[in-house]
Amino acid sequence: MSDLNAKKRWMYETMVLIREYEDFLAMAYFEDKLPPKIQKGLAFDIGAGPIPGEMHLSAGQEAAAVGVCAHLTKDDSVWGSHRSHHFAIAKGVDLDRMTAEIFGKVTGLCRGKGGHMHLFDLAVHYACTGIVGGGIPHACGAALAAKMRGEKSVAVAEFGDGAANEGSFHESLNYAGLWKLPVIFICQDNNYGISVAKSDSTAVESNALSRAAGYNMPGVQIDENDPLAMFEAFATAVDRARRGEGPTLIEMKVFRYYGHFQGDPETYRPKGEIETIREQDPIPNTAEKLMAEGILTTEQIAEISQKAKDRVMQAFTFAKESAYPDASETFQHVFTD
């Protein structure tokens, strides 16, 4: 198989894995969170069960992650946000340890201290943060480090449409444009910041089309939720970055299939929207394309699906069976010494 076709296949497989992971997590999350197991009077207990706390799922945004990560090496870094499982998986974060982290287990990426918004895997240069916009300058810092050392690696900041209204977005893009940093900004436009539609939070239609120019960098808008479109756009951006010519802002329309967080009643969501965006699901669309191109067969698609299910099951089993950290770890890792 050609290199390109192998990459296309990888993108499809990875999308399927991410989707499988998120869909499974979406349900697993509710374990022990509902009556009668919880405090009397509650309808749902966010803090209960084996996966406590908030949960932001990336189902519907896989295309962005795989289109980007198909071009990255282990040494390139990705800096994510509160909704970043897709990028973590696409970047190659250890799925067992990631899942164990989400369960708060000692075998987790962060020994259970981080949780799902704070996944760190140095081996593949992946990190994320729960502060909206907070991770964008981190990518610039990694890019600055690469540039200072004369390395060819790039850094990616991935974030949502809502994050583009934070001051950190502006400052980071200015640094990147000014110093021609090898960083690529991936704005995933899922049309919402929690309950607020983009048109109610953002003065312009497109960050890429209207704001990139303000930082002296190309802005590319991808108007369809398509991994291959991102794959192409990112190819240009990453080449530019590796050549030392500076940053790019890529914006892509994606879907948020679940609520902002699990348990979100989503009363703000217009009727029929979910159905409409589910119809445009990039996973079957990509499958069709790859079949038409002769890259995948129906059997292979079934295989990929089964492999993904197995992989997810393995990760959740690993997580469930792992132990919680000892209470004494509470006071460790404040400082290195």
Binding site: G41, F44, E54, K113, G115, G167, V196, G263, F331
Partner: protein, 346 residues
């Protein structure tokens, strides 16, 4: 602790708080509310449920995720005579807008020699206990209280939630009003309810700042908490009572202004003090209250060394068993009280 009679009107904390806001918005059309998802959604922590329907999108305003801009706008609008309420979804996010709070809002009245008023309220959820991890579980009241020019309010119960909210909105100064997620009484987050005062009269009422509430009278040891730790202290006091220790539980309710008299009086009576906090232990609330007694040892005779409980030098860990250790629990208060009772100073 209050006995239920026919006149009792029980409400959850979040309902009481909203009622306070709503009544002030009815009374004074200069009051408006802005924040993320406070409109149709009614607030991620249901802090504004019903207000958007009642007062419309012009007075209950969804903002972009731009907290610096929001806080700065609150200042400008307040200087021009409006009375904004600006909500930070989580107090943890103060960092993205602390300049506007610390250097602008808190200082304008002073820097202008009293010329410019800042009648605004900053509301924010705070606290952990449900594994929301290091960036979404903090209590940071000490940071606000450290900065001159801000009043800082953190009610522990529904009755106070309404009365202190009304006072906050009526105040001509910037007030930071903090509500702990674990006492809001939401249907989606576990909460503690020691029934301190759940009676929320329908008619408007305000509670003056700087007046502590004696939650429980006692003779042996004074336990001071804030917000949710008052609830925990009340529960601890019940356990301690069974074990023969008569704890006095005090809720300062407002950090700035602080009811120093009530605190000194209580500790002068019991001779023992435990301060329980869910904010970080060092350089903050527990230190200030301990120092208050240390400064007044000429009028307060201590029987034991002061004891502080707080989040001791760590961020809030995600994993439940660790988080339980990091955040002071009812049992920790009980243990501390027993230790304090057993110890004595030179």
């Amino acid at each position: 602790m209050t006995t239920i009679d026919e006149k009792q009107r029980n409400k959850a904390f979040f309902q009481a708080m909203i009622e306070g806001i709503s009544q002030e918005m009815e009374r004074d059309e200069r009051v408006f509310y802005m924040g993320q998802d406070v409109g149709k959604m009614g607030g991620v922590f249901q802090s504004t449920v019903g207000l958007h329907q009642k007062f419309g999108a012009n007075r209950v305003i969804d903002t972009p995720i731009s907290e610096t801009g929001m806080m700065g706008m609150a200042l400008g609008a307040a200087a021009e005579g409006m009375r904004p309420i600006a909500e930070l979804m989580f107090v943890d996010f103060l960092g993205v807008c602390f300049d506007q709070i610390m250097n602008e809002i808190a200082k304008v009245h002073y820097m202008s020699g009293g010329a410019v008023k800042q009648p605004l309220v900053i509301t924010a959820s705070m606290g952990g206990g449900f594994s929301d991890a290091a960036q979404h579980s903090q209590c940071l009241h000490s940071l606000f209280a450290h900065v001159p020019g801000l009043k800082v309010v953190a009610p522990s119960n529904p009755h106070d939630a309404k009365g202190l909210m009304m006072s906050a909105i009526r105040d001509d100064n910037p007030v930071v009003y903090l509500f702990h997620k674990g006492i809001l009484g939401l249907p989606i987050i576990g909460f503690i309810d020691a029934d301190i005062d759940n009676n929320v009269p329908e008619e408007p009422y305000s509670i003056p700042f700087g007046e502590a509430r004696i939650v429980r009278e006692g003779q042996d040891v004074t336990i001071i908490g804030l917000s949710q730790t008052v609830q925990k202290a009340a529960l601890a006091a019940e356990i301690l009572a069974e074990q023969g220790i008569d704890a006095e539980v005090l809720d300062p309710r407002t950090l700035v202004p602080l009811d120093t008299d009530a605190i000194i009086k209580s500790v002068a009576k019991t001779g023992r003090l435990i301060v329980v906090d869910e904010d970080y232990l060092n350089y903050g609330f527990t230190g200030e209250l301990s120092a208050l007694i240390a400064e007044n040892l000429d009028i307060v005779k201590l029987k034991s060394a002061i004891r502080r409980l707080g989040v001791a030098g760590v961020s809030i860990p995600y994993s439940r068993p660790l988080e339980q250790v990091a955040i002071p629990q009812v049992e920790d208060i009980v243990t501390a009280a027993k230790e304090v009772m057993a110890s004595s100073i030179l």
